[in-house]
């Protein structure tokens, strides 16, 4: 492990030291580091910050598996996974720039505060040079801000809010996962195909920032295909029982219910909605439908039979048939016994992308890495051709539209892919109003 372990913004002013009551002994070394946590030994440390307690602990556990696998592959272990399908061939399976990859883990608790504390400890104590992971946008934005200030790279895990690469975008932060706008843009044409263009939508939205951007995006996209929006209702956080919000939906004049919820909220609201028999009934002469814009495997498992036939979008699915996906599913499945989730895939891909960028840049310096990632085009990581856009550090790639499978063959076979929406349909301008108000700023190497 390296012995340079902490941000030093220049030397301390001697006055401050005197105030603390310490004289400055000559023993203080002033190593002139070019950037935070410059790995000097034979190893480099990455920090994987995932929820290990709280509602998203299982998702965090899956992310951790993917990180473990990625590190194994980077160090030349296992079958190499997506290293062999990745379009960039810079990585040799000998660590990163010849340094063996080590990792530390921490618990975000899905709270901004705890996540930042955990990331701080990785940066300050363990000398981590890159932080990755996370399962919510609040945490992603908070940790991204910290990494920007501390001068390390943040490779976001699962975060879907427009803000992460919109108004809260940061130079040191990168997102591989798709976002609410992309979900909506990919879903809308499919919804039009499934349910026609004369529909009235009723939104139930988790009352926090992710929910709002999701609601804004999907409402705009569905209105663009001719649907009307009857109502947008905000639901309190972590509410177990959604009955009082769902009960009025049937008689509201709407014929589609859009649930802008994620995780446990989504499981509960969907279960409640199905229980109320919404899908068994008709409104405006049409079958009442439910849409869940953002899907995840774990949510689908939690909702059980209730997801049958319900459309939504995903960043990735293990049933895709490209070589990257196959290679990843094979090595993940062999090691752990079940297929990976989309959270695992994005974390795995992010780790590889980071390692590759360092290798291509020839330096761990965050500014070099930023330069190498900006505008980087790649393929073979499971999502087809992908671009890391320079303007906002968002990946642009195909989006998967799925729906709950009617007759699942096994416990992992929960959704079927309806369509792979090509990247062209989900691309937007960097200054799109839903993403406006932020600035990347300059990359910060920390020194």
């Amino acid at each position: 492990m390296s012995n340079s372990r902490f941000t030093r913004r220049g030397l301390l002013k001697s006055g401050t030291l005197a105030g603390v009551g310490l004289a400055m002994p000559t023993i203080f070394t002033s190593r002139a580091n070019a950037f935070t946590n410059d790995p000097t030994g034979g190893t480099v440390t990455l920090g994987f910050n995932v929820p290990q307690t709280g509602a998203y602990a299982d998702e965090g556990a899956d992310e951790l598996r993917a990180f473990e696998l990625a590190v194994e592959h980077l160090n030349g272990g296992g079958d190499g996974g997506m290293l062999s399908t990745f379009s960039s061939k810079a990585l040799q399976g000998n660590g990163i720039l010849g340094k063996k990859v080590q990792f530390v883990t921490g618990d975000t608790q899905t709270k901004s505060d705890a996540a930042r504390a955990s990331a701080q400890s990785m940066i300050q104590k363990d000398g981590a040079i890159m932080i990755s992971g996370g399962s919510s946008s609040g945490v992603a934005v908070a940790v991204q801000g910290l990494c920007q200030e501390a001068g390390v790279i943040f490779m976001a895990g699962l975060t879907h809010s427009n803000d992460t690469t919109g108004k809260d975008r940061k130079a040191n932060g990168f997102r591989h996962f798709f976002n609410a706008y992309m979900s909506a843009a990919a879903l809308a044409p499919v919804l039009k195909g499934l349910y026609g263009s004369d529909r009235a939508a009723y939104h139930l939205t988790a009352d926090y920032t992710w929910g709002w951007t999701q609601e804004e995006s999907i409402a705009a996209a569905t209105e663009a295909i001719g649907w009307s929006t009857i109502n947008k209702v905000r639901t309190p956080l972590g509410l177990g029982d959604y009955s009082s919000y769902i009960a009025p939906v049937l008689n509201s004049g709407a014929d589609v219910l859009i649930l802008n919820h994620y995780g446990g909220d989504m499981v509960n609201s969907l279960t409640n909605a199905v229980q109320f028999g919404i899908r068994d009934r008709q409104a405006n002469g049409k079958n009442f439908e439910i849409v869940v814009p953002l899907y995840s495997e774990l949510m689908a498992r939690g909702a059980g039979q209730n997801i049958k036939g319900i459309p939504g979008s995903q960043n990735w699915d293990w049933k895709l048939q490209d070589d990257g996906t196959k290679a990843f599913v094979k090595s993940f499945g062999t090691k752990f016994g079940f297929p990976p989730s989309q959270a695992a895939q994005t974390c795995y891909a992010q780790t590889l992308l980071y390692a590759d960028a360092v290798t291509r840049a020839g330096t761990f310096n965050p500014c070099g890495v930023v330069e190498a990632l900006e505008g980087f085009e790649f393929d073979g990581l499971g999502n087809g051709k992908t671009l890391y856009r320079a303007e906002d550090h968002q990946c642009f790639k195909d989006v998967i539209v799925v729906r709950g499978k009617e007759n699942p063959e096994n416990e992992f076979d929960l959704v079927e892919i309806v369509e792979v929406t090509p990247v062209g349909q989900v691309t937007y301008a960097p200054d799109h109003p839903m993403f406006a108000g932020g600035a990347l700023g300059a990359c910060n190497p920390g020194a």
Partner: protein, 371 residues
């Protein structure tokens, strides 16, 4: 001051209802009936949890932060039974392949192989109601063990110590459940008969879809009412119950009468655990159980108990229903558009109003947990 309370609450409810009415006259009546149904259902859940909690408070004087965990354990009894029913023999089917290209595993539940496909499937289908039979003895015994092994040593300790030890216990219990069942919610569905919903509105002369209500929630409400009634009946009509009620009123005197209070306390704890557990079992189809559901209910259940008044069983039930109904009304769009965010805080707001206008909650007795 105290006599003003009921009017205050009623007035508050009327304002909420009234705001709804003024906004959209048409379709208001059905919306109100719908929210009353919702409120009763929510209230039933709150009342059930609060009932056990207040029983422990009132008789044993213990602040039990692990009560939510008991509710959670009950829910996981249903999950465990479902898993037990689904215990399967595994055979390999070479005609099908799994995701890695190996022969797929085919699981046949033992129940299916023993009772045949139909009978077996319907037993599995009924796992939640059957879990009541399974959960009751488990919860009672669990309550006994807990009281004998831990809680009884804390009767004479300060409330702060009780909070610390029961909070620690709650964490330990939920972490154990998480270790075995994971953090993800686990779908547990009601029997097929109770799927879907009932169109109430048509009976009352409304148009179709105006008032629909899921069958299972109606079952839950009936179950809760029955359980509450049996607890009250038990305390009202048995000698044991009489002693317990006397103990709630004046613990020392009952102790002086030479009645062996200890044994009864153990039983009370078992009873409270069972009530919480059964509430948890029946709630699983409404809320897919997860390991932290107990903590999520903890704060709410304390609010309900205190609003009802410490040491009052009817108070707890009344407060449960009151808060449930008010919460349902507050989540109506008409009300929310008038007072943004009201549904986020209604429970706490009502708690504050009631506690300020009635010093000891709705039906609390003087001196209980006031020092």
């Amino acid at each position: 001051m105290t006599e003003q309370t009921c009017p205050v609450i009623l007035a508050y409810a009327l304002v909420l209802v009234g705001t709804g009415a003024s906004h959209r006259m048409a379709g208001t009546m059905d919306a109100i009936i719908l929210q009353i149904l919702n409120g009763l259902d929510k209230g039933a859940a709150y009342a059930l949890i609060a009932l056990g909690l207040t029983l422990i408070f009132g008789t044993l004087g213990v602040v039990n932060f692990a009560h939510g965990a008991l509710f959670m354990i009950g829910a996981f009894c249903a999950v465990a039974l479902q898993a037990l029913f689904n215990a399967s023999t595994v055979t390999l089917d070479p005609t099908k392949l799994d995701f890695l290209g190996n022969p797929a595993k085919v699981e046949t539940p033992y129940l299916v192989s023993w009772f045949g496909p139909e009978m077996g499937a319907s037993i599995i289908d009924w796992s939640v109601p059957l879990a009541i039979l399974f959960a009751f003895p488990i919860m009672v015994i669990f309550g006994f063990v807990l009281e004998r092994g831990l809680i009884k040593h804390f009767y004479k300790r300060p409330h702060a110590d009780q909070i610390l030890v029961t909070f620690g216990l709650a964490i330990v219990l939920q972490e154990i459940v998480k270790y075995f069942f994971g953090a993800n919610p686990i779908p547990t569905s009601a029997p097929d008969v109770f799927r879907g919903s009932l169109d109430f509105g048509v009976w009352l002369g409304f148009e179709a879809n105006a008032i629909i209500y899921p069958y299972w929630r109606l079952v839950y409400f009936a179950f809760a009412a029955l359980l509450i009634a049996s607890v009250f009946g038990f305390l009202q009509f048995t000698t044991f119950g009489m002693v317990v009620r006397a103990g709630m009123a004046d613990r020392e005197t009952v102790g002086l009468l030479g009645i062996d209070i200890d044994k009864r306390f153990t039983l009370i704890f078992g009873l409270a655990a069972a009530v919480a557990g059964l509430a948890g079992v029946m709630y699983t189809p409404i809320l897919s159980p997860n390991y932290h559901m107990g903590m999520d209910f903890l704060v709410l259940s304390f609010v309900v108990v205190v609003v009802g008044g410490m040491g009052s069983l009817p108070g707890a039930v009344l407060a449960g229903f009151l808060l449930g109904i008010l919460q349902s009304f507050a989540s109506m769009n008409e009300v929310k558009s008038l007072i943004p965010g009201i549904d986020q805080i209604i429970i706490y707001l009502v708690a504050i109003i009631i506690l300020l206008s009635r010093p000891r909650g709705l039906m609390g007795r003087k001196g209980v947990m006031e020092e």
